[in-house]
Symmetry: C2
Subunit: 196 residues, 2 copies
């Protein structure tokens, strides 16, 4: 059975890919781009190095603009990022019957609430799954066993998160993105550990 | 890395076993028994047919008695079953560093809340994981691909759920267990699908 997994090149979405692949799913990694900045290279590289099929899906830049407007109004990124994620899942639900992402137990944003998942599944007649049953310690340990991981200060060229195109649009509008998105260490999966 | 998975012989805990095995964990299936009735045979049989290590851990019958007392007082099984599950996880946390169960997205009982998981992990310095990120449709589809499944009316001899010993104790005390536990169809994993 085919599954589309929203993919950033990070540990969480890579682990979801491995779980579903090893359960027998036909995994297709999907990275979203709004045509503002090509932030898809890290995800494409990680997917290729892991040997998974990967697809970039271009969506209407208006979605990004609406999110950026929310972020400016809030002076805080959470609602805007959550808006993008929900919108993306709604759109993917028209194309795929099974959709997954790498959101884990502690994630707050982006995240679908239980009732939002039920609604999405029922309205669109799809299945959605994520890593909410697993915490960061288990994900770190498991990823360390499976993957070669590169850690670096977050930067628009080492992640394919929604954050990257948001940063580019905010900077164009003259905002200081380091104030809105605090710097953090980004973990990127660069391939398999040798014994995998 | 070793993981203890609370195991009933059902689809959910079997799927958790397959996921963690295929991620490289050293899986040990664990079925709890309180010495009231040997309800462990279905779980032992399923574990053997899937080729996983399996262990029965006997715990103090007082835990079962306390749960049954709660169930009689409530005339409803939920609090009692939840009490057993929480108590079992507390005890297993002293023996294992990674503990899992097959509770899934829609499960309400037994289930650990987010803050209860955080507390358990922090106090006991362990990792706990479950299938909360996955809904019943996905679990059914995946299990149908992986396992030979036997469906039957629930009965004390076709499941190793906590419910079974609770029923035996309630019946001894003269209660009508079919009133407290409505009959339902029990799915039991009896082995691998031929192509697995």
């Amino acid at each position: 059975m085919k599954v589309a997994i929203l993919y950033s090149g990070g540990k969480d979405s890579s682990l979801m890919a491995v779980i579903l692949d090893r359960l027998g799913y036909d995994v297709e990694l999907v990275t979203i781009n709004f045509g503002k900045y090509d932030s898809t290279i890290p995800a494409r590289t990680s997917a290729k190095n892991l040997g998974f099929k990967h697809k970039v899906i271009k969506l209407d830049q208006q979605i990004l603009e609406d999110a950026v407007e929310m972020i400016i109004k809030d002076n805080f990124p959470n609602n805007g990022i959550n808006y993008i994620h929900h919108t993306v899942l709604e759109i993917l639900s028209d194309e795929y019957k099974v959709i997954a992402d790498g959101t884990r137990r502690e994630d707050r944003i982006p995240k679908l609430k239980f009732n939002e998942i039920q609604s999405l599944e029922d309205r669109k007649n799809i299945q959605y799954l994520n890593l909410t049953g697993i915490g960061y310690k288990t994900i770190n340990d498991t990823s360390d066993q499976l993957f070669e991981i590169q850690k670096a200060e977050s930067d628009i060229n080492n992640s394919s998160d929604y954050e990257m195109e948001i940063r580019v649009m905010l900077e164009e509008l003259g905002y200081d993105t380091n104030e809105i998105f605090p710097q953090h260490i980004q973990s990127r999966v660069i391939g398999w550990k040798k014994n995998e």
